[in-house]
């Protein structure tokens, strides 16, 4: 997939391209498979872009397609945005039902992912949507032949996009550079934080040290951000 210059550019011609915004990555691997990843905290100012992003279905040329909503790194909606998000989703129940073949949600083990799923369920979506905690299982369900390689490419793109976050960028550089066994304590010392506050900050970003280390060892992301 090739990068688009902006969300407008991406939406004008999505197939085979992706776009990275402040809190998101949106992509369209082929005419029948697209998706988005959200990270961080979604605030009121982010909603217009988020809704345009979720309206990606209007720009997909195929009558029916599959989609991924990746909320593994999503932190939260601020509570006052819930009604707007629910209103947006409820207004699209029929559109999603008509256009979506399979819809996969990727979530981490945290309340933010659960709130995303609960919000989606409360909207009353009627199409086939399922929940996964790994991109391998998710993409294997969506498209057993083409999905898993696309999932690996996307994990790399997501890691690159999220590495723009200073703390995660520092963690990725540490994992790539350290000669010792990587440890939470040693990394905390290099960024001048207590292990407890580091754990909290990683949790706020929808991840933890072990998860980042496992992803690094699998060799998925290109971790050298320098």
């Amino acid at each position: 997939m090739k990068p688009a210059a902006s969300l407008d550019d991406f939406l004008a011609r999505p197939v085979g391209r992706y776009v990275v915004g402040g809190h998101y990555l949106a992509w369209c691997a082929n005419p029948t498979l697209c998706g988005s990843t959200l990270w961080g905290t979604v605030e009121e100012a982010d909603l217009p872009a988020l809704f345009r992003l979720w309206d990606l279905f209007r720009h997909i040329p195929s009558p029916r397609f599959s989609a991924v909503t990746d909320a593994r790194y999503f932190e939260q909606f601020t509570p006052d945005l819930l009604a707007a998000v629910l209103g947006y989703l409820r207004a699209r129940v029929d559109d999603f039902g008509e256009r979506l073949d399979k819809h996969a949600f990727l979530v981490a083990t945290n309340t933010a992912g659960a709130a995303m799923i609960g919000t989606y369920a409360a909207a009353g979506m009627s199409h086939d949507w399922r929940i996964f905690d790994s991109s391998e299982a998710c993409f294997a369900w969506l498209d057993p032949a083409a999905g898993p390689p696309i999932g690996r490419d996307l994990d790399r793109l997501i890691a690159d996009a999220r590495a723009q976050d200073p703390l995660l960028g520092a963690l990725h550089r540490y994992l790539a550079a350290t000669k010792d066994e990587p440890s939470l304590e040693r990394f905390a010392a290099t960024v001048g934080r207590s292990t407890r506050s580091l754990q909290r900050e990683l949790t706020e970003r929808g991840t933890n040290f072990r998860q980042e280390l496992t992803a690094f060892r699998r060799g998925k992301p290109s971790r050298d951000d320098s």
């Binding site: 998000v85 209103g87 009353g124």
Partner: protein, 272 residues
């Protein structure tokens, strides 16, 4: 219903009894109808006690039971407890659902409530229906018991959650009378001055307008769910002169229009 001093005492003699912990109560109307109500911000101790109580459902009745889980007043779901509650739900799901007849989850549309319902879905708990109010939940799980069990459960919840007695009386007056009652009339009905009522509601963290709006939307939901009344007639029943007034109120409280709520609920009902 009578209080049990512990979860094991409840397990030994469940019918007509409840066990209340900090931030939750588990009740057993009979050996076929159980429920849990959770409110406030459950701490670790409350989560431990709740997780110890929940397996009781499956132990108490192998013949089939229905459950009402009421989280309308859950104010916070501490992210630190999430992994443990999820692991519990995953481990107990099959046993819980094996003899389950019906399960109603009563929730508002707050973040903790949606995170809880999302946790159910993530854990693979599938057989539950969502409701905005307790009346609709009772109609779903035990219609023949709605007139006896519901008032008793509401009374129990108000008592154990230390709900302000004034707030409990006001909610009952709005629910059982006219939800669009003027504040002066409501105050008179529960034996307070208007100012006294407003002061007590402020102390309980709410306002008369919020309580009345909530009661009006609850009644509108009930009428949309259970009658064929036109939206215009429902608007009048809940004290809105125009359908546009009901549409605004309904959208503010629920995020959708009355007509789309009705269509969605009927679509969901036809799928189950």
């Amino acid at each position: 219903m009578r209080a049990a001093r512990s979860a094991s005492e409840l397990a030994a003699r469940p019918t007509g009894r409840y066990f209340a912990g900090k931030s939750f109560a588990v009740w057993c109307w009979n050996d076929r109808l159980f429920g849990t109500t959770i409110w406030g911000a459950p701490d670790e101790q409350a989560i431990d006690a709740l997780l110890a109580c929940w397996p009781l459902y499956a132990q108490l009745s192998a013949a089939g039971y229905s459950v009402i889980t009421d989280i309308r007043r859950l104010e916070r779901f501490d992210p630190a407890h999430y992994p443990r509650v999820l692991a519990f739900a995953q481990a107990h799901r099959d046993r819980f659902e094996a003899h389950l007849t019906r399960h109603a989850l009563v929730l508002g549309e707050s973040l903790p409530a949606l995170a809880t319902s999302g946790l159910y879905s993530i854990a693979g708990v599938q057989r539950f229906e969502r409701f905005l109010d307790l009346a609709a939940a009772f109609d779903f799980v035990a219609p023949t018991l709605a007139s006896t069990a519901r008032p008793a459960v509401e009374q129990l919840i108000a008592a154990v959650s230390h709900e302000s007695p004034t707030l409990a009386k006001l909610r009952a007056a709005l629910r059982e009378g006219d939800p669009a009652l003027a504040v002066d009339d409501a105050a008179e009905r529960i034996g307070l001055s208007t100012r006294g009522l407003q002061r007590e509601l402020a102390a309980a963290g709410t306002t008369y307008r919020d309580e009345s709006d909530r009661a009006r939307v609850e009644l509108a939901c009930q009428l949309l769910d259970t009658t064929e009344l036109k939206i215009e007639a429902i608007a009048h029943r809940v004290g809105c002169a125009q359908t546009s007034g009901l549409a605004r109120l309904f959208a503010r409280m629920t995020g959708e229009q009355p007509s789309s709520y009705r269509a969605r609920r009927r679509r969901q009902a036809s799928h189950t």
